[in-house]
């Protein structure tokens, strides 16, 4: 209602009003109608006069408008520039603070009902799958020979392998050939000047053990050396093991679930878990892995924290039919992770000892970072220049592994067996890719030194869930109860007691408390506070506002417009009259106004002009005294 536009509309219902009063409004309305779209001032002087009398910028009035007193002008200009610089100094500080994007740390303790995380359990027992059994036996045979040669150790092999060895040796000569391409060697350090080493940190004793890897045309070789023979043999063995696995074209051939022989009992939240609650996958080194509670449609929730309301499993840890050179530990490996996050068993696992009840208590902790300019994190990984090869949600580990795999495919032409296949690639094996080992170990060194830039490219996700685990151990089963417990297990699960306590283990996984911590971030300096601070500074030093700046902008625009109009007018008058045309000044108003009416710009009446030209004693008489009285009261 504060615009004069509404004043017009308000005139309509005032029909019954006194004529004289209405006349005033009508006249004003007419005046408005006479008013053009934009009116310009006749001269610079007029413009500045208007500006000086109406501006709201405090210092500026004194500076521009008090030109009578030079002393005062100088004083005010000094003051003006002083405050101006002070303000911009403060502005600079504010902007610097804002663009450093400070964050507040928020700590929330939520106590909602917690969804139980996914729990992955691995047998730690790489399985001898029937599809690769023959080749593994042959590899064992070669290893046996190697160990006998190097360490004079006669490794015992399963009898069945010996009997058919001679026939198999002929049938699959290729494996032996390939294994012999990368033999395990032990050499005296002095003799090895020709071959560069890939692991410069190994400098322990005179002997070194490892295997030689060469490029495709044998012109570049290096010695993959290890300080300990145990490491060397394991690494060498698993290198060949991967090759054997990679030769199996169909991964389904390895999918041999043996759930019943691994998990003997499963309870969750005082209820028996059902069969639908687990998924199975095979890990080349950790054996068969089972993930509980992976199904996001029906998640487990504990009703209370505490050991009784968590997951309780009895697992078999006895190892038979295992590959002694791949896994040297016995037990089971547990990992707690979020649903739709892959289980990287070597990153965050927990080994369970046989004959022991391991109670793992969890605390959930969530970290939520602010993305964007606040920190270098990614919301869903879509802005990370690495394709996600896993079918799961983005995590830093997923990204790093995908990055390595993509580099591997690009550099070596084939994919590393432990990581998922990119589209169109095949797994490395030396039947097809003779020098992949050379390529892989070279790449690994580069990867670890971050020459590939994987650690640089992969950013942390903005939202992370962590489970902090701590464990307690007790002996299980107890001496007095072990008789009946083992008996029942043997009856029910066909468990034949061979090593008593070392054959089984119990795992309890539970939430220690319901509260979970959320470490969040919130911007400490938002746009709102920045504007408030700017406003504070501005008000303090200048007492002006954004609208004052608009006034200034208007002044400048008007100034330019008037300059143009005057220049245009001067040019025209110059052309029609003699060259030294009349100088545009305030005295020139009439001439300008003639031109202006030609440009359909209606001429301007100042308020004062109206008052002075139209005096009427009728109107003055009643209002004059009242105005005086008003002034007097104020």
């Amino acid at each position: 209602v504060l615009q004069d536009g509404s004043a017009k509309s308000e005139n309509a219902p005032e029909g019954e009003k006194m004529r004289e009063c209405k006349q005033g409004a009508e006249q004003q309305q007419k005046e408005d109608e006479r008013e053009g779209l934009i009116e310009f001032y006749g001269s610079y002087q007029e413009l500045f006069q208007f500006f000086c009398s109406n501006t709201t910028i405090h210092g500026a009035i004194r500076l521009v408008c008090s030109k009578k007193n030079k002393m005062k002008t100088a004083f005010w200009s000094v003051l003006f520039f002083l405050t101006f610089s002070l303000m911009y100094w403060q502005f600079g500080i504010l902007y610097r603070e804002y663009f450093s994007y400070p964050v507040n740390l928020n700590l929330n303790l939520n106590s909602d009902r917690l969804a139980f995380p996914a729990v992955t359990l691995c047998t730690l027992n790489p399985y001898r799958y029937s599809a690769i059994r023959k080749k593994l036996d042959e590899l064992d045979q070669i290893t046996h020979q190697t160990l006998l040669d190097l360490y004079d150790y006669n490794m015992s092999l399963a009898r069945s392998d010996w009997s058919t060895l001679s026939t198999r040796k002929r049938s699959s000569r290729s494996l032996l050939h390939h294994v012999q391409r990368h033999p395990l060697r032990r050499q005296k350090r002095d003799n090895l000047v020709s071959l560069p080493e890939n692991s410069p940190s190994v400098d322990k004793n005179d002997w070194k053990i490892g295997f030689v890897l060469c490029s495709e045309n044998n012109d570049d070789c290096f010695h993959q050396a290890y300080s300990s023979g145990v490491d060397a043999v394991r690494e060498w063995y698993s290198f060949h093991y991967i090759n054997i696995l990679a030769q199996i074209p169909d991964a389904k051939a390895l999918d041999e679930s043996d759930f019943e022989n691994f998990i003997y009992s499963c309870r969750f939240n005082e209820a028996t878990c059902d069969k639908a609650n687990y998924t199975h996958f095979h890990h080349p080194l950790y054996g068969n892995c089972y993930t509980f509670n992976d199904n996001s449609s029906s998640l487990w929730t504990s009703s209370l924290p505490g050991i009784n309301n968590g997951l309780s499993l009895v697992v078999r840890t006895e190892q038979h039919d295992f590959i002694p050179l791949l896994s040297t530990v016995t037990g089971a490996r547990v990992m707690v992770h979020d649903q739709n996050e892959p289980a990287f068993m070597d990153d965050g696992g927990f080994n369970v000892r046989p004959g022991i009840e391991t109670s793992i208590s969890m605390r959930k902790e969530m970290t939520v970072r602010l993305g964007g300019s606040y920190s270098n994190c990614t919301e869903d990984g879509s802005d990370v220049p690495v394709q996600n090869l896993y079918s799961s949600r983005y995590t830093e580990q997923v990204c790093i592994r995908s990055c390595f795999q993509l580099n591997m495919v690009e550099r070596c032409g084939c994919a590393y067996y432990f990581y998922p296949l990119p589209a169109g690639a095949t797994y490395c094996n030396y039947m097809k890719h003779i020098a992949w080992g050379y390529c892989y170990y070279k790449l690994l060194v580069e990867f670890k030194a971050d020459v590939l830039g994987c650690f640089h490219k992969c950013r942390k996700p903005c939202k992370m869930t962590e489970y902090q685990l701590s464990a307690g151990y007790s002996r299980w089963p107890s001496a007095v109860s072990e008789d009946w417990v083992f008996y029942m297990l043997s009856q029910q699960n066909k468990y034949n007691i061979t090593s008593k306590r070392n054959g089984v283990a119990k795992v309890n996984i539970f939430f220690e408390e319901w509260n979970y911590k959320t470490n969040g971030e919130s911007p400490a300096f938002t746009v709102v506070t920045l504007l408030s601070q700017l406003g504070n500074q501005w008000s303090l030093w200048f007492g002006s506002s954004v609208l004052s700046v608009m006034e200034l902008a208007e002044l400048i625009l008007d100034f330019i417009a008037i300059t143009f109009i005057l220049a245009f007018r001067w040019l025209r008058s110059h052309r029609t009259h003699s060259p030294p045309g009349p100088h545009p000044s305030s005295q020139d108003n009439t001439a300008f106004q003639d031109e202006a009416s030609g440009l359909s710009t209606p001429h301007r009446f100042t308020v004062e002009a109206v008052v002075t030209t139209l005096p009427s004693y009728n109107s003055l008489e009643p209002c004059g005294p009242s105005r005086d009285s008003e002034k007097g009261h104020e």
Partner: protein
């Protein structure tokens, strides 16, 4: 008389303190006046600028500035209740927490024989019937014979059942009879292990004693679980009937449990431990419980300076069916916190040295309105049954116990007794078990409302534990150590200790850093106000005074203008009606009067500077006759300036 002085006073007041109305007669005039005189930027330009577009732009700018101010201030208000977190790390002498130690086995099995013999017999019988397991053939045979003769009615009530082929046909352990059962089957999908073999599905049935058709069936995938659960059920019934003093005697004494004790490099003994009876874990001993008024503290971190005890875990005296694991349970807690051993206790292995390093963290949250937590728990409508300070866990347990007493008539064994209630046992409450399982199911599904009532505590202490284990005693030291310990203990018993009966425990501060996480209000009132001031100043150079001005002009003055106009209309309508009624009066005189008195102009009170300047010219007036200003109008104007502007009062004054 009395009226005269009063009139005088009012006249005097009117003269000295003149009450004037709005600054302008009409709304548009008021706005114009406001815009010309206000200190707020933008508004003056609307009036002063020439040119419709220019004016429109200034209107737009001013309105958007107002909008921005409102939006930003709303944002500031909304973010007012945000808290920031500060983490302080202090190095100081830390109070040592209370450490509660329990044997996993609650009561000495040998001492419990009298109470449990019947139950054990039945259990062994069940093992033999279902699994063909027997420790000594003759003994079991005899016990079967015994049981048939004594025949416990309680075991008949809830027998173990064997299910055949997923049908409802079961074999009763007790009678060996096959029968069909009815009832809702819980945990139906029990086929996780050896799903093809129907032999192993075993469970028990709980029925409503009043209504035998209401039954719940519990089945277990593993026989080990079934036997243990069933045993526990009956065990709790038996234990509920034994008074507390007897139970304390049946359990381990401090001397039984603790062989050696060291704290902060000094020897300690059982006087430093306070007994605490836990319903499921028997006698537990709390080190540094603060019961005698002093709380020990450590001045040095590291394993040498913490609590160092050797525990005697008498594995041979364990209950074979109740507990299947061997060791001790410990919990680190604050002195006035209740130790929930059964839920979050850490287990200690025998024949091993367990080192537990602690990290101390103290957290403090801001309560309402920042977050929904409770300081003392006094504002939560759940009675604290535990004699300790409030925690969420205590609240949930108390809430469940209260619901249990209300709906089942007795209290659950594992939680403390509310006043006036007693523990459930099926001598007195034959129905309690069914009731309990039903209630627990409801609790899990959050139908009891406990989870909604109970809130977090605002401040809490936390000891993060890191456990590491080493083989203990070492092979070379085993001999002499066991001999010395046996000799120490030998005064009471003549038995050589075995290393699997011992557990070595060390609890210590890893370092003496105390991490203190506290929430502080991110905004104070001062900051909020200064931010408001910043926003107002930035966009319009406005202040509190200008806000008051706006209120004055836009609400009070505008309202009074509108009200007055209404009043005039009403009055005019009333006058017209009156006039119609009294039409006898001559029209001329009325007209004359109207022209002279100018009733509408009369309300044109107190013309302001602008209105005065802009008063209309009479030239184009459609009125045929404008009388020259006469004395009466002048007088009227003057008087109206000092009196109330309402025309009725004017009329009164006129007459």
């Amino acid at each position: 008389t009395a009226m005269a002085p009063r009139k005088k006073i009012t006249a005097k007041i009117k003269k000295t303190l003149p009450v004037t109305g709005p600054q302008a007669p009409t709304l548009s005039e008021l706005m114009r006046w406001y815009c010309l005189n206000t200190n707020t930027h933008g508004c003056r330009r609307i009036v002063v600028s020439r040119g419709r577009l220019r004016r429109f732009i200034w209107i737009l700018l001013t309105l958007s500035a107002v909008g921005l101010i409102l939006w930003q201030c709303a944002e500031l208000l909304m973010n007012y209740y945000s808290a920031s977190v500060s983490v302080t790390v202090q190095f100081q002498k830390l109070p040592f927490p209370a450490v509660t130690i329990c044997n996993i086995n609650p009561y000495k099995y040998s001492a419990m024989k009298d109470y449990l013999s019947e139950l054990d017999k039945e259990t062994k019988n069940a093992l033999e019937t279902f699994y063909g397991f027997s420790e000594g053939k003759s003994k079991v045979r005899r016990s079967v014979g015994d049981m048939n003769s004594t025949g416990s009615e309680f075991f008949q009530q809830i027998p173990l059942l064997k299910f055949e082929d997923f049908s409802r046909t079961v074999t009763d352990l007790h009678s060996g009879q096959k029968r069909k059962i009815e009832g809702k089957v819980f945990h139906k999908d029990s086929s996780i292990v050896n799903s093809g073999d129907s032999n192993d599905i075993i469970g028990f049935q709980l029925c409503d004693a009043n209504n035998s058709s209401e039954c719940a069936l519990y089945t277990f995938s593993s026989g080990v679980n079934a036997i243990q659960e069933w045993y526990k059920l009956h065990y709790m019934n038996i234990m509920a009937q034994i008074p507390l003093e007897t139970k304390e005697k049946l359990s381990y004494s401090a001397d039984d449990l603790i062989l050696t004790c060291f704290f902060d490099g000094l020897s300690c003994d059982k006087r430093h431990f306070t007994r605490f009876h836990h319903p499921l874990h028997g006698n537990c001993y709390t080190f540094n419980s603060g019961a005698n008024g002093t709380v020990l503290s450590t001045s040095t971190g590291g394993s040498e300076y913490g609590l160092h005890v050797v525990l005697y875990i008498d594995e041979a005296d364990y209950n074979p069916f109740l507990v299947t694991s061997t060791g001790a349970k410990i919990i680190v807690h604050d002195q006035n916190e209740y130790p929930f051993i059964e839920d979050i206790g850490t287990e200690i292995e025998t024949a091993a040295a367990t080192s537990i390093g602690m990290h101390f963290t103290r957290s403090r949250k801001l309560s309402k309105p920042y977050s929904d937590c409770t300081e003392t728990g006094a504002d939560i409508p759940v009675e604290n049954l535990y004699n300790k300070s409030y925690s969420l866990q205590i609240c949930l347990h108390s809430c469940f116990q209260r619901a249990m007493v209300d709906s089942c008539g007795c209290a659950q064994y594992a939680q403390p007794l509310p006043a006036g209630a007693e523990y459930c046992n099926y001598k007195k409450n034959p129905n309690w078990m069914y009731c309990y399982y039903r209630l627990h199911e409801k609790f899990v599904k959050e139908q009891l409302g406990c989870q909604q009532i109970c809130k977090d505590a605002c401040s809490f202490k936390e000891w993060a534990l890191t456990t590491s284990i080493a083989q203990w005693p070492s092979t070379v030291s085993e001999d002499w150590m066991l001999r010395v310990l046996s000799w120490d203990k030998g005064q009471k018993m003549n038995k050589k200790l075995n290393k699997t009966d011992l557990a070595n425990l060390m609890v210590f501060y890893k370092d003496l850093n105390e991490r203190f996480i506290s929430e502080n209000p991110a905004n104070t009132l001062v900051i909020l106000l200064s931010n408001f001031g910043g926003q107002l100043g930035l966009w319009m150079s406005c202040s509190v005074v200008c806000v008051i001005e706006i209120v004055e002009v836009f609400f009070i003055d505008s309202l009074s203008i509108v009200m007055r106009r209404r009043w005039q209309k009403a009055k005019k309508w009333w006058d017209d009606r009156k006039r119609k009624q009294g039409r006898k009066a001559s029209q001329e005189s009325e007209l004359e009067r109207q022209g002279h008195e100018n009733p509408v102009c009369l309300d044109e009170d107190l013309p302001t500077f602008n209105t005065a300047l802009r008063l209309p010219l009479p030239q184009e007036s459609p009125l045929p006759r404008t009388p020259p200003p006469n004395y009466s109008t002048l007088r009227l104007e003057n008087s109206s300036a000092f009196t109330e502007q309402l025309p009725d009062t004017l009329d009164v004054g006129q007459h």
